[in-house]
Symmetry: C2
Subunit: 214 residues, 2 copies
DNA sequence: ATGCTAAGTTGACAGCGTACACATCGGTCG
DNA sequence: CGACCGATGTGTACGCTGTCAACTTAGCAT
């Protein structure tokens, strides 16, 4: 494991790879600069030549995860019968998001799990790849005339909220530890419910009184 | 601040109160045993007489937050016109959940924000109080005949997923920093969408092909 | 060959969780 | 009343962490 060259050569990528390895099972808290440096046979401070601080490394790891997640979601999408029907496509995107979270809870937590109010760079690098899939699926739905064009704007939020919320709750909430089949059933129900709501004739069932924010 | 008695007298509660204070602005990461002990003029290890470890203290803090959250949600519920219509009631519960998250991001993160796979005691102390409100609202909806009884089971998940996901995303996702009014609009849309989906005639729009978990 | 600069190193400091042994109080029993 | 004892708080110590500062090395360009 001890290298012979003074310079590592590809430390930046090696750090990210080690970060992926460590966070896969332990989530974001498992990432420690000193630890990954040790694994690579490198002094702790070497990492600081490539990342400003621990959060920067974590962000880089998260970026890789985003890409991988988008890949897997896409595979999931084309796997579950061709994306002929845009509704199926949207459904597949949502379930793909959840499937990734269930398969890789540690990585999911790194990619989307941080809920702190830190001012972590408003929009660095644009939208996360997994979200692009959602946007495309919704666009397809609108193009097909299944989603009214005036309802298209902001439709990302109910969808993303539902799948993200479900993923979070399945990993931490009462559903944690439940048999995968049961979890998956609830996941399907959740996804189908938002899609139904999105495509339902406007406000068919629910009414919207003026409730204001606290 | 320095006490004169050797024994503090109410250290356990004092620790929790200090924990609430600290996490309110800083979230779960801001809670440090040494720090809260210092604030109370007590040695760090004194805390270990009342809590097994940092996570145990955090859990106690979370429990208080759950209670407070449920209270505020209930106030929000009765505030936005009486719960005459069960649909309004469900809506209020959802929006109350989100409102709390927006008002108290730090506390919300403590109460619901942890996404790690740690085996944190499957079901200690039963259901979280905020969730009880949701269950009751759904029951009322079913009792009123607005929600088909066969659709009642598991209806918590789409609802909770949507509001929890929205709250998380509003605090960390692209919506973070957006003007409150805009965020609130999306919140309403999200809540209304799930309610519509829940109350829509079964699978009116979306079809459910057999997509299996990865 | 001679520098310049990027990349790694050693050393240090402060802060953390927490294990272990000790001190001190309040209440209870002989 | 005094001795005891369990509950509570203290002191010390270890290993871990992030990160700053100053130094060393390697490789590239002049």
């Amino acid at each position: 494991m001890a290298r012979e060259t003074y310079h590592h050569g590809d430390l930046r990528n090696a750090l990210i790879r080690a970060g992926l390895e460590v966070t896969r099972s332990g989530g974001p808290d498992a990432l420690a600069i000193r630890d990954v440096a040790r694994r690579l046979g490198v002094s702790p401070n070497a990492a600081y030549r490539h990342f400003a601080d621990r959060d920067a490394l974590l962000a880089a790891v998260a970026a890789r995860i985003h890409a991988d997640m988008a890949e897997r979601m896409h595979a999931f999408e084309v796997d579950g019968l061709g994306a002929a029907d845009p509704r199926h496509r949207l459904r597949a995107v949502g379930l793909g998001y959840i499937a990734f979270a269930l398969d890789e809870p540690g990585w999911f937590a790194v990619a989307f799990g941080r809920i702190d109010n830190g001012p972590r760079s408003a929009d660095e690098g644009g939208m996360a790849p997994p979200l692009i899939l959602l946007v495309e699926a919704l666009d397809a739905l609108a193009d097909a005339g299944l989603l009214a064009s005036e309802a298209r704007a902001g439709a990302e939020w109910p969808c993303w909220s539902a799948v993200h919320g479900f993923a979070s709750l399945a990993l931490t909430g009462p559903l944690r530890g439940a048999p995968r089949a049961a979890v998956w059933e609830h996941a399907e129900r959740t996804v189908d419910t938002v899609i139904d709501g999105l495509l339902a004739p406007e406000g068919a069932a629910s009414v919207s009184p003026d409730v204001h924010a606290g």
